[in-house]
């Protein structure tokens, strides 16, 4: 059986853009930098494709934290980043209404070689979740 501490490690979902953040996450591995194992990187062309309920459902299902790692202003899809930023703000409002801590959803930009930014985001979220969840 799984001891309680392992079963209850809060899970972090990382939505990483195919053009920037996903290769950025690969880069972290390539330089053999370590980060907690409770992190699950999912490759997406553009996280702008997810509607507000997608995020809320993730929390309902048991994901403890979500980091949306976008391309920021390097986004290859015109207009997608600004639309995404607006949507994440809207999700934050909805999270507030439902009593979900809003800092459990983070939007940031991670480039193909931004290993430091990737690690900072992951460690911050991990710390937040392990100290509060």
């Amino acid at each position: 059986m799984l001891p309680a501490d392992r079963a209850q490690v809060p899970k972090i979902l990382i939505l990483a853009t195919e053009a920037c953040a996903y290769p950025g996450a690969d880069n972290v591995g390539q330089i053999h930098a370590e980060y907690p194992a409770n992190t699950y990187v999912v490759r997406v062309p553009a996280p702008v494709m997810f509607s507000e309920p997608f995020y809320l459902h993730c929390f309902e299902k048991g994901i403890a934290g979500i980091i949306v790692m976008s391309c920021g202003h390097e986004c290859p899809y015109p207009g997608a980043y600004d639309t995404l930023a607006t949507r994440i703000s809207r999700v934050h409002e909805l999270m507030g209404e439902r009593g979900i801590q809003t800092n459990r959803l983070r939007l940031c930009a991670v480039c193909t070689v931004c290993s430091k930014a990737f690690l900072k985001e992951v460690h911050q979220m991990h710390e937040l979740l392990t100290s509060t969840v």
Partner: protein
């Protein structure tokens, strides 16, 4: 079966199997220990076999090998697999490989899902193998969950321009352009400066052949200029790029021309490290120069007509300082204007310096040559011979540590207790005489270089120098516009980054873009030529047929579900790929969304706002993501590794 089911390609392809009865093969790669040294692959396979669709589950040392791929092909045939999942390295390396294997077995290539358990699991989780194994189990679970919902897709086949643009007219760009033209492709060569040849045109003799650089170049430039397949634009820059593999569109200034091209070879070259003001006396003392300036000086066609002189005086003592601006260490070296340290070795400077040092000793035997180095790296074929030759010719080597770099200062009357080495030409043994400093024998060199020499048990030497040569390395050239327009990846040191140093060494992450020469990393002329030829061969192979296959990750509309509300049309305000059309269906007029696949870029802005889920990006459907999240949070208690 109702009509919508009959039209569902999933059901047609899978002979009526439902998502949970599909036969899925799951393969976990050891990557020769890269994965299996950390991740318990047997546990991952055991977990996968517990999933409802895990019909075949295997682990294997190298799935990308021919034998590994044949495992998949044989299982598809013998076990009647409907879907394949491979957990291995990053999809950027082998997603395409395994899709191709699935296709070779007669299945649709898009019925394949790739799970990354190397870069994003084993390599970043070495100190927590249990955690890494559990993570791999969940990620494989998510991969299987997505695989259940994959649909067969048809790649989009498009015309491709049989034309390549080479950006940069240095030796690797010239070599790429010439090779491409000989294969029969049309080439446009765009060079930022006024002339072709790049840095090589400024160099005198080049190792390992001692050829005159300009003679080698002249031959190549003549071939390029004389080739009817090549159009050359000098003083020209790409300022805007759009399109995709096979059909890029480049705007070139200041000539206001537009180039339609199928592939792009980046051969933008390097800059030489510019020493900071006062670094080893650079900019302070006119006797401090860089290696490229020394090369110009040694060139009979150069500014001194080949005479080794400074301030009108012959040079008696030359001191060459290696690793200036290279192999920088945090806390020891000052970051450059961009705040970055150049931590890498520039590779080519050692042999270039040894070559120049040997030439000085041969041509000016009365001139003493000192090389102050951290390490000598003569890595290539015929390079070490330059070190042997320089030693034989009496070049004196001193080794310094990074934290005790040589100090260059104006020469003053010396007071000891250091050692001075001056005006004592090599004896028969070929060795210079190191003699204690003597006030009776003043040296008139303008500068003195102090160095703690670790080859002689840390002796503090004072070396007179009327010429100090800083051996500066290669740094990435400023090509921000190209990086921005073409979405180029850079490595941590700022050079352009290939997809994989061994498997795809001249390809960039964006399909149709290739890299050649020193914009990728410091390399010498032989290596730059090889890279240029390699990029040419890859680009030519890509465009040979004049057709290109693209992934069909666009957003079609499910007409049975679309209610024609038009929210997707609003969302697609940038691409304007979605419109509402009115059609007659079952005898009545209905409105529905229609996607222009030539304009759709697959971003999914429409997907998020569609109230019915009718519009989805193929390959990235929302139900697939939902299923992945479900799998990530599922209960794997029986198969996960627990802390004993």
């Amino acid at each position: 079966m109702d009509k919508s089911q009959a039209q569902d390609p999933l059901r047609e392809a899978d002979n009526g199997a439902t998502a949970h009865t599909l036969r899925i093969g799951v393969y976990v790669c050891h990557c020769g220990g890269n994965i299996s040294d950390v991740v318990d692959v047997e546990r991952v396979v055991q977990a996968a076999s517990g999933l409802s669709n895990g019909v075949v589950t295997r682990h294997y040392p190298a799935m990308c090998s021919e034998t590994g791929q044949n495992l998949i092909i044989d299982d598809i045939s013998n076990e009647k697999l409907d879907r394949v999942v491979v957990a291995a390295c990053s999809p950027s390396l082998h997603e395409h490989t395994f899709r191709a294997a699935v296709a070779r077995a007669g299945k649709n290539a898009y019925l394949y899902e790739h799970v990354n358990i190397r870069e994003q699991v084993s390599w970043c989780g070495k100190s927590d193998p249990d955690g890494a194994t559990n993570k791999a189990i969940r990620l494989v679970g998510a991969g299987v969950a997505k695989a259940r919902l994959l649909r067969p897709l048809a790649p989009i086949s498009m015309d491709a321009k049989r034309h390549v643009t080479v950006v940069g007219g240095g030796v690797s760009g010239l070599r790429a352009a010439r090779d491409l033209a000989r294969i029969g492709l049309a080439v446009t060569l765009i060079e930022r400066s006024a002339s072709l040849g790049g840095h090589m045109a400024q160099w005198h003799l080049v190792y390992p052949t001692e050829d005159k650089a300009r003679d080698l170049l002249r031959e190549l430039v003549d071939e390029v200029i004389g080739d009817p397949n090549i159009t050359v634009h000098t003083r020209a820059e790409v300022i805007e790029a759009s399109g995709y593999v096979g059909n890029f569109l480049l705007r070139v200034e200041p000539e206001h021309i537009t180039v339609e091209t199928g592939a792009i070879v980046l051969a933008t070259g390097f800059d030489l490290y510019q020493p900071q003001e006062g670094e080893f006396g650079y900019g302070q003392y006119p006797e401090v120069i860089t290696l490229d300036q020394l090369e110009r000086m040694l060139d009979p066609e150069g500014p001194t007509s080949g005479r080794l002189e400074r301030n009108g005086r012959a040079v008696n003592n030359v001191c060459l300082i290696h690793c200036v601006g290279s192999r920088q260490i945090e806390g020891i070296h000052q970051p450059g204007p961009d705040g970055k340290l150049n931590e890498y070795c520039s590779r080519v400077c050692c042999t270039a310096t040894l070559r120049a040092a040997g030439e000085i000793r041969r041509r000016f035997p009365r001139t003493n040559v000192f090389e102050l180095y951290r390490d000598i790296r003569t890595y290539g074929r015929g390079h070490e011979e330059y070190y042997d030759e320089a030693s034989r010719l009496g070049v004196l080597f001193c080794r310094y540590e990074a934290d005790r770099p040589p100090v260059v200062s104006p020469a003053e009357p010396k007071k000891g207790p250091g050692l001075i080495c001056a005006k004592h030409p090599p004896g028969r043994s070929g060795k210079l005489n190191l003699v204690p400093f003597s006030a009776e024998e003043p040296d008139d060199s303008a500068l003195v270089v102090q160095v703690k020499d670790t080859l002689t048990f840390g002796e503090e030497l004072e070396i007179p120098a009327d010429l100090v040569v800083l051996v500066t390395g290669m740094v990435p050239r400023e090509i921000d516009t190209l990086v921005d327009q073409l979405k180029l990846s850079r490595s941590a040191d700022g050079f352009l980054q290939e997809v994989h140093p061994k498997l795809r060494p001249v390809e960039l992450a964006v399909n149709g873009l290739f890299v050649a020469g020193t914009c990728q990393a410091p390399m010498d002329i032989s290596e730059s030529c090889a890279a240029g030829s390699a990029a040419a061969a890859k680009a030519a192979a890509l465009l040979a047929s004049g057709r290109i296959e693209l992934d069909p990750f666009l957003a079609p509309v499910d007409l049975d579900v679309c209610r024609g509300e038009g929210k997707c049309v609003e969302a697609c305000q940038y691409q304007k790929a979605v419109t509402l059309v009115e059609v007659e269906r079952d005898g009545r007029k209905v409105r529905h969304a229609e996607v222009n696949s030539a304009l759709c870029n697959g971003c999914g802005m429409c997907t998020a706002v569609c109230p019915t889920g009718a519009i989805q990006v193929e390959g990235w459907r929302l139900d697939q993501f939902d299923a992945m999240v479900d799998a990530l949070v599922a209960d794997y208690a029986e198969t996960e590794v627990s802390h004993a």
